[in-house]
């Protein structure tokens, strides 16, 4: 028991690791702040494409979503960071992470938003068009608000996944939170920094998870 506490819950080592882990947390949050809005925007475009009446656009969008949902994000990230230089394109770890997560995330957000768009009854669109709203106005004011509301728990769940996904950035040596914690662990031969990082993930994500639970209850009732 003492060994467990010593190895995983060593407050002294946690205190030493804290500055570096907090710096990692900052990078984690920065990745999220860039990737989540980009992913939502890319996902919305792909979702609109996948329900478009234009066949070519539909196929391109569905193909994009299928490919990037199937590709493991780790492989994608390594390919972008370590593979593309052979094609003459060298990217910094940060840019590689942003591009990789953007592609992965767009595909997931697209699939959720597509389900949302399809959940809005056709009569809503007909009512809007019958009062003179154009296609884009109908989307912005009638379809999209209902679509987003119908899939809000799924969108937020995906945000939680994105935050955890950022830990993959450590494979390209980007110093996000888990990378920082791992670094301290390899120096001290003690796993406590990882527990510290896990605790910070929990503090970060728990409120979001509570909110999702609340939305889900509201929708089922």
């Amino acid at each position: 028991m003492d060994a467990l506490v010593e190895q995983f819950f060593n407050l002294e080592i946690m205190a030493k690791a804290l500055p570096l882990v907090l710096k990692g947390l900052g990078i984690t949050l920065l990745i999220c702040a860039v990737v989540i809005p980009l992913g939502l925007a890319g996902g919305l475009l792909a979702a609109l494409g996948s329900v478009s009446r234009n066949r070519a656009l539909r196929w391109i969008s569905i193909g994009f979503v299928d490919v990037f949902r199937a590709l493991p994000p780790l492989v994608l990230l390594i390919f972008i960071y370590a593979g593309l230089p052979f094609a003459g394109l060298s990217l910094s770890p940060f840019v590689a992470v942003i591009i990789g997560f953007f592609l992965n995330n767009s595909a997931y957000f697209a699939e959720i938003l597509r389900a949302g768009l399809l959940s809005v009854p056709k009569g809503q669109i007909e009512a809007a068009r019958s009062t003179g709203l154009g296609r884009a106005q109908t989307l912005i004011w009638v379809t999209l608000p209902q679509a987003v509301r119908n899939v809000l728990p799924d969108l937020l769940s995906n945000v939680v996944e994105v935050v955890k996904l950022t830990s993959l950035a450590s494979v390209v040596s980007l110093g996000e939170m888990l990378h920082a914690a791992g670094l301290v662990r390899s120096i001290t031969y003690n796993a406590s920094p990882l527990v510290l990082a896990a605790g910070l993930y929990l503090v970060l994500l728990w409120p979001l998870i509570r909110v999702i639970g609340r939305f889900e209850r509201r929708i089922t009732h």
Binding site: E126, A128, S130, T131, G132, Q146, R149
Partner: protein, 255 residues
């Protein structure tokens, strides 16, 4: 057959005219050369068995359904063909749906003012005043801040009517407006329609409310298999129908 605009009940001029309208779904012809003229302030009721093309005809009148051929005019302005500013002309044609189709994420006033704000670009205060006025006409200004889920079916349909009325249309199309309502809620909606007629609104109504048709309609049309079989004043259609198919259809309702 081109109907004369000088029909009983028409005060002056033609508000809506349909000429040789054809529409198929796949290989299935639904409308087979339909002609109809609705006079200003006239209330025309369309009866017919399901699948006769009533709703399709109505939906062609604002091009929610695209006609295969034929022409449609609103107060002399062509609605069909390329180059028509649909979003503009649709504001002159109000439509009321069987399933109300209110926007669930907006309250009653929000439903009524959306097109005023976004299409007509009215400032908020002016749109809200016009919206409250429209809600008042259907007796629901006190429910302006209620969401559709907080309203009864009859109230929802009246809000939907107000949403169309707020745009000050020349013609109102009703697609089975009371079919989705509990019987005790039908009367309120029909009362609103009666008021609209009294104020001179031109109305084309697809409905099975025979009793209402009998005492409110200026003219009744019986459709079957994509054609108009018989047209006449309600006394004729209900009292002394000239066509066998009309008689057979109505006998099923009279028992």
């Amino acid at each position: 057959m081109m109907l004369s605009p000088d029909l009983p009940g028409a005060s002056s001029g033609v508000a809506l005219s349909i000429e040789n309208l054809h529409k198929s779904f796949g290989t299935e012809p639904v409308l087979k050369g339909l002609d109809l003229a609705v006079g200003r302030s006239e209330m025309v009721f369309v009866l017919g068995p399901s699948g006769s093309g009533k709703s399709t005809m109505l939906r062609c009148c604002n091009r929610l359904e695209e006609p295969d051929s034929g022409e449609i005019f609103i107060e002399g302005d062509r609605l069909t063909g390329p180059g028509v500013d649909l979003n503009k002309i649709r504001q002159r044609i109000g439509m009321v749906f069987q399933s109300f189709n209110l926007y669930p994420h907006l309250n009653a006033l929000g439903n009524v003012t959306l097109a005023l704000r976004q299409v007509q670009k009215m400032p908020r205060a002016q749109a809200e005043a016009a919206g409250l006025d429209a809600l008042d006409r259907v007796g629901l200004s006190a429910r302006a801040r209620h969401y559709p889920a907080q309203l009864s079916g009859g109230q929802q349909q009246r809000v939907a009517i107000a949403r169309a009325l707020a745009l000050k249309p020349s013609v109102m199309l009703f697609d089975e407006p009371t079919s989705a309502l509990d019987p005790e809620l039908v009367g309120d909606v029909l009362d609103v329609m009666r008021d609209m007629k009294a104020q001179g609104m031109t109305m084309l109504v697809v409905s099975h409310e025979m009793k209402f048709a009998r005492d409110a309609a200026d003219r009744v049309i019986f459709m079957d298999h994509g054609r108009i079989v018989e047209t006449g004043p309600p006394e004729q259609i209900f009292g002394n129908p000239q066509e066998d198919r009309t008689r057979a259809f109505l006998s099923r309702f009279h028992g």
